[in-house]
Symmetry: C2
Subunit: 461 residues, 2 copies
Amino acid sequence: MTIWRPEISERPGPRYKSIADAIGDDVSLGKLRPGDQLPTQRDLAEYLDLTLGTVTRAYKEAERRGLIQGEVGRGTFVCAERDHHDPLLEPGREPAGMIDLGLNLPLYAEDPDLAGALRGLSKRRDLAGLLSYQPFTGNERYRRAGVEWIGRHGLAVEPEQIVITGGAQHAITVALSALCRAGDLVLTEALTYPGLKTAAKLLGVEVAPVAMDGEGILPAALDRAAQETGARVVYCMPTLHNPTTATMSRARRDAVAEVVARRQLQVIEDDVHGLLAAEPEPPLAGLVPERALYIASTSKVLAGGLRVAFVAAPPALVERLAFAVAASLWALPALSVEVATLWIADGTAAAVTGRKRSEAAARQELARRVLPEARFRRTERSYFLWLELPEPWRSDRFARAARDLGVVVSPAEAFAAGRTPPPPAVRVSLSSPAGRGELEHGLRTLAGMLERGPAPEPAIV
Amino acid sequence: MTIWRPEISERPGPRYKSIADAIGDDVSLGKLRPGDQLPTQRDLAEYLDLTLGTVTRAYKEAERRGLIQGEVGRGTFVCAERDHHDPLLEPGREPAGMIDLGLNLPLYAEDPDLAGALRGLSKRRDLAGLLSYQPFTGNERYRRAGVEWIGRHGLAVEPEQIVITGGAQHAITVALSALCRAGDLVLTEALTYPGLKTAAKLLGVEVAPVAMDGEGILPAALDRAAQETGARVVYCMPTLHNPTTATMSRARRDAVAEVVARRQLQVIEDDVHGLLAAEPEPPLAGLVPERALYIASTSKVLAGGLRVAFVAAPPALVERLAFAVAASLWALPALSVEVATLWIADGTAAAVTGRKRSEAAARQELARRVLPEARFRRTERSYFLWLELPEPWRSDRFARAARDLGVVVSPAEAFAAGRTPPPPAVRVSLSSPAGRGELEHGLRTLAGMLERGPAPEPAIV
DNA sequence: AAATTTGTCTATTTACATTTC
DNA sequence: GGAAATGTAAATAGACAAATT
């Protein structure tokens, strides 16, 4: 096909919109197909007898509408169909018979006894209250449960600082919307939790990567990124970082906290894996209490289906968080919050956490026996590991090859923030399969692949 | 205070950002206080030896940051502190002893029997599944419950079209984010559900009003607004519109649908009050099935605390909605969805809906006896009424005066979309007080106020 | 490795619409 | 009711930065 030209002489209104409209219409009509290259901005400017700036603006408008994407030096291209076939976003869709080491599921086999909890609840007098709207921040009793739960993570907070959310993903959405507006920039580890990217996209917030090492974010890189971009918000996971299992030492936490304080940043500290740490370091939020939103969830070490997380915030931000909860959910499902509160208070949560920690430890032990140990960072109880691939494996190719052998893993691409090039590594979940036998089978398949290397690539790629 | 001038010579980086930064810093330092007027754009441009356009851009950046607000013809002013003391956003915070006719609560006294449901559930074998993550769109059984529930509203859909959300507010957030991006414009009734404004703000979406009458949106006004603004999305509540109780006739629905089809708009049809209608008209979504997202909730006629709503979407949009659910919540609280599904299937929902309809009818009857009938639109079973105030009452003043007498109502300001001037009217909820006695007491207080008129205003306002 | 291509950013100029007085 | 004041919007021009070849 010859180079596409828009027809804008007939269109009313501003030129830049006309061009964006023309792109939109021709994409709908199939005249422009995903991947097609548009004329360069200078080209089109000359053709339409406009200046470069106007075409820039038109392309930007079309980009905002999700139609096209510009790449410096290469050109501007029509976007692929909106497809959200991110495997991380589709639990349970794997075909039967696959061993799923892709999802970070929380060891369902060790979940608490729901029947008992429901029987107990059904005898309560004040049950009707669970069918009415809750205050957005949760009532006093629930917030005290949050104080207790967060306390177990090593952070002391007051009930007034607690906001309850519908799980950690919701907590991230709420935290982002309290600290940013559409168009703002959030810094995060170069590899990051995909849910952050999803939430940011929902809110129109940009995500930019910060260099990291085996202990997470590099303070100097954070300092530089904050200065260069002017960003005011950082999201990070200092303990058992997803996907790399990087965990900040005390010294690293101090150094990051220093940058945060000096640059007056705000931190969203995601500590969903905090209770799996072997020797917990103090949360960042404890080092910069005025500058941190701290997220602790019940999903990983209690029960994923409850959808309850607690956010601890400096008092000045609580109201904004409550507003974001109201805007996104109005109120929380009281039944879930009640069950979570019960389990935290009556020792069930502690017992289940203990069981899940043991099982995670056993599975890590299993992984150490089956996989070449030099290829991943040793942790005692992480639910997953970050498997570094030997040459010439690349992440996506490995994930595809594993899938062909019946094992699902998560490629590095899923975690790359901004334009971070994906390293040759994959995340291997140990907590998703129901039993250790299935897990072992999956891990042995991966070990074989590492040993054999990739099959020869067809000549033309 | 003399006219504020920014100090930007010391600041690095682009001028327009320096100005915005200077505003931000001086607001933090208290040198600029809420309500203060900034120099006009032309003034400042001359003072800083820049052109008008640069200052425009600087003010726009500051406005994006929520610092200031420009008003054509008047000037640019520092925003009030972010205060979210919207009474509609704070259930249960009213001081004890107040009669709350402000919140649209769903007749808690008629709620279903949760204890029985929990006892039943606790005996189920498959209970453990309720603690694991659900597919984002809900499993097949839950989606069938959605089909059944939406069917009772007069709309036939397939299970594949259903997306389950954490209540109607969440459904609105999800629907908006599936259809818009930050910066887009959504049209709605000139008076609208405040939760729409809240959700739009969360997502960075603008809201623009469309003129309405006693049957809701005016088709001609919608046509004009769509053309003038280029907006592609309309949110509306065709049945028992909140706050006015306006309900579209069949003819109005046809006319609106015609505009929607011709202008290729997309409709978000909020039908949370659909089951309270006396003689239900067909949902708009049935008239333009390819162009509508239809929201039906369990909150109003079953139980508010469950936090379960169903969205029916054209198949092409289901995946986008599921993505938005994943981005905002990850998964739904299965326990709540399970209970809602049970109640829909076993007849509980129908019975409770019947009770709530009767009680609503009785309360409307009570209102007709106590309040001057000419002042509000008669509906058989709405949970609230829209009370038009006689001269010289104005909405906010009436609401404040009522509050002083111990009765909370919602002023028109809370519902005004965009810059719609608030009419002299208030929304009076009939469904919030626990008993009819309390309701009658509150209504009599309001009736007295209408009769007496406002107390003389102090000389200086 | 240098030159070129390509998109991005800031500031300017001019025209316009709304509100106030 | 018309003139003035004020903010808004679009198109232009030139400098800049990143990626390609």
